[in-house]
């Protein structure tokens, strides 16, 4: 017998966790002498009150969608991919090469091949930890974390020594050519009579991310490969019994995960900055872990969680801009949300399970 209904697991627990995090954040804001209601109003106004705010919220959400999906796919295979940050950095490198050195006729073609390049670079970066895990048993958590540092160093080297235009002091690539400019939501929605903010960075990558959500859902729950990935994640001996190769599944799941992380670069590098800069990922690889946790590793849950974290990012930025609430406190609020929805899951789950069991007993 399940201890509680599915909807409680999927909806109620994240919601309660979120409320707890919000409550605690409110107390912290009170403690530094600001008004929590005002802060909340400001966040909502700043993130969701205008198409400009939405544009930023959705832009961040797009990043988190890619990295969240990536963590979810690996998780289904029982692998914890903490290397999203590094894989996304490498994805940026792939995009930069694709955009800078090939004269694309049209942005659609450019997007397709930039996506492939980003995915390939990200997957390659995930491939080494995956191989070490599959063949040597080196724990993927440790190796992917270490690969984040290597990726940062590699990117630094590439930007400073190789990709930086002659005479520039900025460790960044040259601007991408106009032909690879991705249409922003403003440009996409204008023909439909919607005047979306011109200055917001949300772009066509959002649609790619949503398509990725659907594809990941199909992969995990509707194909034999997803079936094998989930089986392996639940029971390695079971997978072995059923004739699945642990080595193959580990490799494939990590490659898909790395490719998804890498593809984030079409949003932040190609869509927004239109050049590759240092620290282009802004921690999105790590937020992806929280997004996947909160979204219960289901693409739809990841979608909702990505929007929530997009809201927190954008709302938090607004808060720092308009109040004396320091920038660091925004990080505290985001951390509280991660702590409650991710790490302290059982704190809410256990009492809730007891309540449901008691309720059922009463009915019986």
């Amino acid at each position: 017998m399940e201890k509680m209904p599915k909807w409680a697991d999927v909806v109620l627990i994240p919601l309660i966790s979120l409320l707890l995090a919000a409550g605690l954040s409110a107390l912290v804001i009170l403690a530094i002498g600001e008004s929590p209601t005002e802060a909340l109003n400001l966040m909502i106004e700043g993130a969701l009150g205008s198409t400009y705010g939405w544009g930023y919220t959705l832009y961040y959400a797009t990043n988190f969608l890619f990295t969240g999906l990536a963590v979810a796919v690996a998780y289904h295979a029982g692998l914890f991919n903490i290397g999203g940050e590094g894989q996304a950095m490498l994805g940026g490198l792939g995009v930069a090469y694709a955009c800078l050195f090939i004269p694309w006729p049209h942005w659609t073609v450019a997007l397709l091949f930039a996506s492939i390049a980003a995915g390939l670079f990200g997957a390659t970066w995930a491939a080494i930890p995956a191989y070490l895990q599959a063949k040597r048993g080196s724990h993927v958590v440790i190796t992917t974390i270490m690969f984040n540092f290597i990726a940062a160093a590699l990117l630094n080297y590439m930007l400073v020594n190789i990709l930086k235009p002659e005479g520039s002091f900025d460790p960044a690539t040259a601007r991408f050519p106009e032909a690879v400019h991705l249409p922003s939501l403003h440009e996409i929605l204008l023909p439909f009579g919607i005047n979306f903010s011109k200055n917001a960075p949300a772009n066509v990558s959002l649609l790619v991310a949503i398509v990725a959500c659907v594809l990941v859902w199909l992969l995990i729950w509707r194909t034999w490969l997803g079936y094998e990935i989930r089986s392996y994640g639940k029971s390695e001996t079971g997978a072995r019994y059923a004739g699945m190769s642990p080595v193959k599944i580990t490799m494939i799941a990590m490659l898909i995960s790395g490719a998804l992380c890498g593809m984030m670069a079409i949003n932040n590098v190609m869509g927004e900055a239109e050049r590759l800069v240092l620290n282009a990922t802004e921690g999105a690889g790590f937020i992806g872990i929280a997004v996947a946790l909160m979204g219960r590793n289901h693409p739809f849950g990841v979608f909702l969680a990505a929007i929530l974290f997009g809201f927190l990012y954008q709302g938090g930025a607004e808060l720092a801009l308009w109040t004396s609430i320091p920038r660091e406190l925004i990080v505290v609020i985001q951390a509280l949300v991660i702590l409650f929805t991710g790490a302290l899951d059982n704190m809410v789950r256990m009492p809730l399970e007891k309540i449901f069991v008691a309720l059922r007993k009463e009915k019986a």
């Binding site: 034999w224 639940k234 029971s235 001996t237 072995r240 059923a242 004739g243 642990p246 193959k248 069991v357």
Partner: protein, 509 residues
């Protein structure tokens, strides 16, 4: 009349919606061996856990030696004179016997005085009950039977008057089991009270004074052992008449299906588990592999099922099967029409969190009839599941229920249905009825025999000698990675097989 050693009055306990114990009352007389028998999930273990302070009863009273006793934890149980020998021993493997015995019962902060004291009392205990164990031997260096003695000594050292043994013979050879019962007999004659939890009717009939039968959380009867029969007990356990012997016609062995030649298998740590064995399984026969758990049978089955690598040769219908590679040859095996009911259905045969309908494809999930383009045909899977559930009487017949929510017997029926319905030429079966209720055992045995009668080959691995003897046509005994001998099932008995299982060859036996 003296007070009962244990008296339970109206004990009830539920876990969520499941009522594990319903209003159970029982009296255990001092100085007797009292058997408690019941199918898996009947509530035996829950009842004993309440007695040992692991669970708190929702309702009811526990009386020990005529006194109402509260047992909130195992410390209280020990203080009340209750000792427990678990099915899976609770010993520290790299400690000595002596160290294990004082573990949790040390006096003061220094070890030396406790050890000296234990050594002295161990000597007395050994003399008193004929329980000889080397106090300085390390646990991982002594046999399973010895380890069990240490568990018993642990309880006695803590001055237990009441000893509860949970399925004590599951890991023992018949000879070791006999020794155990001699010890229990001795303990009884010294006035100790023994509660024996088991699912083996034979042990109950041979060694107990009184027996209580549990079914679905209720105590259905308590009877004097001398006044009952195995058939009657089985009926009380299941609630209907049960066929204890497998009903089958003599085998008609035909051409060899599986030929194993000089097969060697090593485990993960490099220790050789199967040491060059030769076996042949013919069409239309069931070959049983007997042996005490851990003598290489599991590894043999895993290699045949494609889960492990090995050296030597195995042939199906004369064609060699792959033995090497990634150790993931299961798909090739299934393609060659080998079905495999694994030893551990919870860790291998099923994904416990998956729905029943997902599990019915497990291992065959790439089969074309389950695909629709690039996607899996879930509707076809569910229809297939419903059909199998009906044919194999899986209860409840709900394809959407997760595997973990079925009883052991019904889980096993799902696995057996999946493997048999593919109509394999060779069926590998490991521990087909471990943790399976009697009613389902009967059904599963019938299915295996039916497959044999269709002219298919069956290789059966079981640690239950009774099961081997009643189900197999031919028996091979494994000990320490070797085949000690082969016998026709009809021409051998438990005694002969028991000697082979203990590593004695026909000459020395």
């Amino acid at each position: 009349m003296t007070a009962a050693a244990i008296e339970l009055k109206s004990i009830s306990k539920s876990f969520g919606p499941v009522q594990a114990n319903k209003d159970i009352s029982i009296q255990v007389q001092p100085g007797t061996i009292h058997g408690i028998i019941g199918e898996n999930g009947a509530g035996k273990s829950t009842l004993m856990s309440i007695l040992y302070g692991f669970y708190k009863a929702d309702k009811g009273e526990v009386w020990i030696n005529g006194k109402l006793t509260e047992i909130p934890d195992s410390q209280a149980a020990i203080a009340a004179g209750i000792g427990m020998v678990f099915q899976h021993f609770k010993l520290v493997e790299n400690f000595t016997v002596l160290e294990n015995i004082i573990l949790g019962a040390e006096d003061g902060g220094l070890l030396r005085p406790s050890l000296a004291k234990a050594r002295k009392s161990l000597k007395t205990l050994a003399a008193e009950y004929d329980l000889n164990v080397d106090p300085d031997a390390r646990i991982d260096k002594i046999g399973v039977g010895m380890q069990q003695r240490v568990e018993i000594l642990k309880a006695l050292y803590r001055q237990a008057d009441i000893l509860i043994l949970d399925e004590p013979t599951g890991v023992l050879t018949p000879a070791e089991a006999d020794q155990l019962f001699r010890i229990l007999d001795r303990l009884r004659s010294e006035g100790k009270t023994i509660v024996l939890i088991t699912h083996k009717l034979r042990e109950i009939m041979e060694y107990t004074d009184t027996v209580s039968v549990m079914r679905r959380g209720e105590m259905t009867a308590t009877v004097k052992t001398a006044e009952t029969s195995p058939e009657h007990l089985a009926e009380l356990m299941v609630g209907r008449k049960v066929l204890l012997q497998v009903d089958k016609i003599p085998a008609k062995p035909a051409a060899p299906v599986l030929e194993i030649e000089n097969l060697r298998v090593s485990d993960e740590t490099g220790v050789e588990r199967v040491k060059g064995i030769n076996l042949t399984v013919r069409a239309g026969e069931i070959l049983g592999i007997a042996g005490v758990a851990g003598n290489g049978q599991s590894e043999l089955l895993e290699v045949l099922g494609g889960m492990r690598t090995g050296q030597g040769s195995i042939k199906l219908h004369g064609a060699p099967l792959p033995l090497t590679g990634s150790g993931a040859n299961g798909r090739a095996r299934r393609a060659a029409h080998i079905g495999h009911v694994p030893e551990d259905r919870q860790r291998e045969g099923l994904i416990m969190d998956f729905h029943a309908w997902e599990n019915v494809a497990f291992g065959y999930h790439r089969a074309l009839e389950f695909q629709k383009g690039v996607l899996m045909d879930n509707a076809a899977l569910r229809a297939d599941t419903e059909a199998k559930m009906e044919k194999f009487d899986v209860r409840p017949p709900d394809p959407w229920l997760a595997a973990k929510n079925f009883s052991g017997g019904n889980q096993q029926k799902i696995v057996v249905a999946r493997e048999i319905e593919r109509n394999p030429d060779l069926l590998l079966v490991g521990q087909p009825t471990r943790g399976v209720d009697i009613g389902a055992i009967e059904f599963i045995h019938q299915q295996i025999v039916a497959l044999r009668d269709q002219g298919k080959a069956v290789l059966l691995v079981s640690v239950e000698l009774e099961e081997i003897l009643s189900l197999a046509d031919r028996v091979a005994v494994m000990f320490d990675g070797h085949i000690m001998g082969e016998r026709q099932a009809a021409e051998t008995d438990e005694k002969e097989l028991g000697l082979l299982m203990a590593g004695m060859t026909a000459e020395t036996a």
